[in-house]
């Protein structure tokens, strides 16, 4: 099987984030592999391992696909050190400020041209928090959509079944190859890259493509930020130590604020 995993480099969740000219300042902030995408990499590796492995020349390959600035190689390298075979990084100055629609168009083109059987995504990038790219890729490619999976079962003959978990309940869904999967964080426990994995990743290929190589023209974003204003920080709250009447103090606070 040819498996693709979509990973994104995002600002560290703990880092303070700022907007510059209506866009997230991605330069002056620590960047990491989107932690929800680690579950996607792990699931891809587990699927490969359950069906003959992904050693060189073996039955399966796991390719990491990412769109982002050149420094996104760090995040891609992490996915490689977990055990993915190779990677494609789409980098082009024209992509700065791309929205989810443009991102999904680029990813879909690369995926469609790569001849993959399945593509696995995280459910959400922790910076944009949109949860839309996997569904967009599915719509663009005309591939089956198997998203929010808490369990994935692959029949290498060409069928995938998942358990979908959302606020709307639990569904059992299946689709034939090729299809787009996204996985929730309950699905597995991502492995830590081993020393051997980290060393091996240094030798793995990260193929960089610009838009011309991808064969797609850049699309400007279809929504714009008019303005961004920091909200006043929460006023420092009141803190009391329970010395036998903490519960009553809580009730008094509720009454004072007219919350009861």
């Amino acid at each position: 099987m040819k498996i693709a995993v979509c990973v994104k480099q995002v600002p560290d969740s703990w880092a303070e984030k700022k907007m510059v000219n209506g866009l997230l300042d991605r330069v002056n902030v620590d960047a990491v592999l989107n932690d929800l995408d680690e579950y996607a990499v792990e699931e891809a590796l587990r699927i490969a391992e359950a069906h003959g492995g992904n050693e060189e020349g073996g039955a399966n390959t796991v390719t990491v696909i990412s769109m982002g600035p050149e420094r996104a190689t760090e995040a891609v390298r992490k996915a490689l050190s977990m055990g993915a075979n190779d990677a494609i990084l789409i980098t082009d100055t024209a992509l700065a400020g791309a929205d989810a629609l443009a991102t999904s168009a680029v990813l879909a083109k690369v995926i469609g041209d790569g001849g993959y059987d399945i593509v696995i995504c995280g459910t959400e990038s922790t910076d944009a928090r949109m949860s839309v790219v996997p569904a967009m890729i599915s719509a663009r490619l005309g591939w089956g959509q198997l998203t929010f999976a808490s369990k994935v079962t692959v029949d290498p003959a060409g069928k995938v079944s998942i358990t979908r978990v959302t606020e709307a309940g639990v569904d059992e869904i299946s689709a034939a190859f090729p299809c787009v999967i996204s996985v929730v964080e309950k699905i597995n426990e991502p492995r830590y890259p081993s020393f051997k994995g980290i060393m091996a990743a240094k030798k793995k290929t990260i193929e960089q493509r610009d838009l011309a190589t991808v064969g797609i023209s850049s699309q400007s974003a279809w929504s714009q930020v008019n303005d961004a204003t920091p909200r006043p920080p929460r006023a420092a709250g009141v803190k009391v130590t329970d010395e036998g009447n903490g519960g009553q103090a809580l009730v008094n606070f509720l009454a004072e604020k007219k919350l009861i």
Partner: protein
């Protein structure tokens, strides 16, 4: 006057509160048509519950493909309706299902998309709270039909009763929307308490409950609140996953959020820090959740909550 579509949202077989919230926002832009997608023969009964808020029309589309194929089928039908009826904007509830429908509709209609709006103005400008609620952003779609998903419980709904005109429409569902097949569906288990994303008050328990949610539930019931949980609590199986609040759970924004025995990891805060008021009960004075608390009690939740519950009951009687 222009026309606005909202995707009617249901909880079981009744329109949920977000439907009226979407209608309230939509009415600022134009006359609101609520689109109802239903199994064959079920549309009229569902549509009859879409009777709150400024809704002028209800459009029923029936097909068994919606239950069989889920998001892609609904998105295809909605996209085709948008192409034929050209609404000025489309508003959809911001949950997993709604966002995925919006995502596909945006692709199919070549339209810009904005997710997680907390407000929408008359010119379809959306307000969003980003970076953990620390920044307010106003954005606007500049191409195609604005597709906007709106967070439940963000807009004060006009709940006047509506008597919309009800029509039926058919909408084409293409083969590409039928590639994934749903073989079984289990709706979430509903308890007697308010729905988490709709509640005015949410009381949540974490690892500090040590698996015993009775004190949290009793306190929640004294306030008529919904019960939430941290991932530590849902992972341990102490509370159902559907009650998880946070980045990979639900985003809530109630009038009051009470975090009990929860440390305040960034992934938890991502789902609750835009709550209007936050109260914390935690025995560790250093717990990061205190940083965002309006009122915090440093103490054992097994002492503090029962006393607070009794205090509230005493006030009521």
């Amino acid at each position: 006057m222009s026309n606005v579509f909202i995707l009617a949202d249901f909880s079981g077989d009744k329109a949920s509160k977000i439907t009226a919230e979407l209608a309230t926002a939509g009415a600022r832009i134009g006359a609101v048509t609520a689109v109802v997608f239903a199994d064959a023969g079920k549309g009229a009964a569902l549509a009859a519950t879409v009777n709150q808020g400024p809704i002028t029309n209800v459009l029923i589309v029936e097909s068994d493909d919606f239950a069989k194929h889920g998001v892609p089928a609904v998105a295809d039908a909605l996209a085709n309706l948008i192409k034929s009826k050209t609404p000025a904007a489309v508003l959809i509830a911001s949950h997993a299902f709604g966002k995925e429908v919006a995502a596909r509709v945006a692709v199919l209609t070549e339209s810009g998309i904005i997710t997680d709006a907390v407000d929408v103005s008359a010119d379809a400008t959306a307000t969003q709270l980003v970076f953990g609620g620390s920044t307010t952003v106003h954005s606007k779609v500049s191409h195609g039909t604005p597709i906007i998903t709106v967070r439940p419980n963000s807009i004060e709904a006009d709940l006047t009763s509506a008597t919309p005109a009800i029509d039926n429409a058919s909408a084409e569902i293409g083969d590409a929307a039928k590639l994934s097949a749903i073989s079984s569906s289990q709706p979430p288990v509903k308890g007697g308490r308010p729905e988490l994303t709709e509640a005015n008050i949410v009381v949540s328990g974490g690892r500090g409950t040590n698996g015993d949610f009775a004190a949290v539930e009793n306190f929640a019931d004294s306030l008529g609140a919904a019960v939430g949980a941290s991932r530590a609590a849902t992972d341990a199986g102490w509370y159902p996953h559907s009650h998880q609040v946070g980045q990979t759970g639900k985003t809530v924004s109630p009038q009051l959020y009470v975090a009990c025995g929860i440390s305040g990891a960034i992934q938890h805060r991502a789902g609750m820090q835009t709550s209007k008021s936050i109260i914390v009960v935690n025995k560790d004075p250093e717990a990061p959740i205190f940083d965002i608390a309006d009122f915090g009690v440093i103490g054992d939740l097994f002492n503090v909550l029962p006393q607070a519950t009794a205090g509230i009951s005493a006030k009521k009687s």
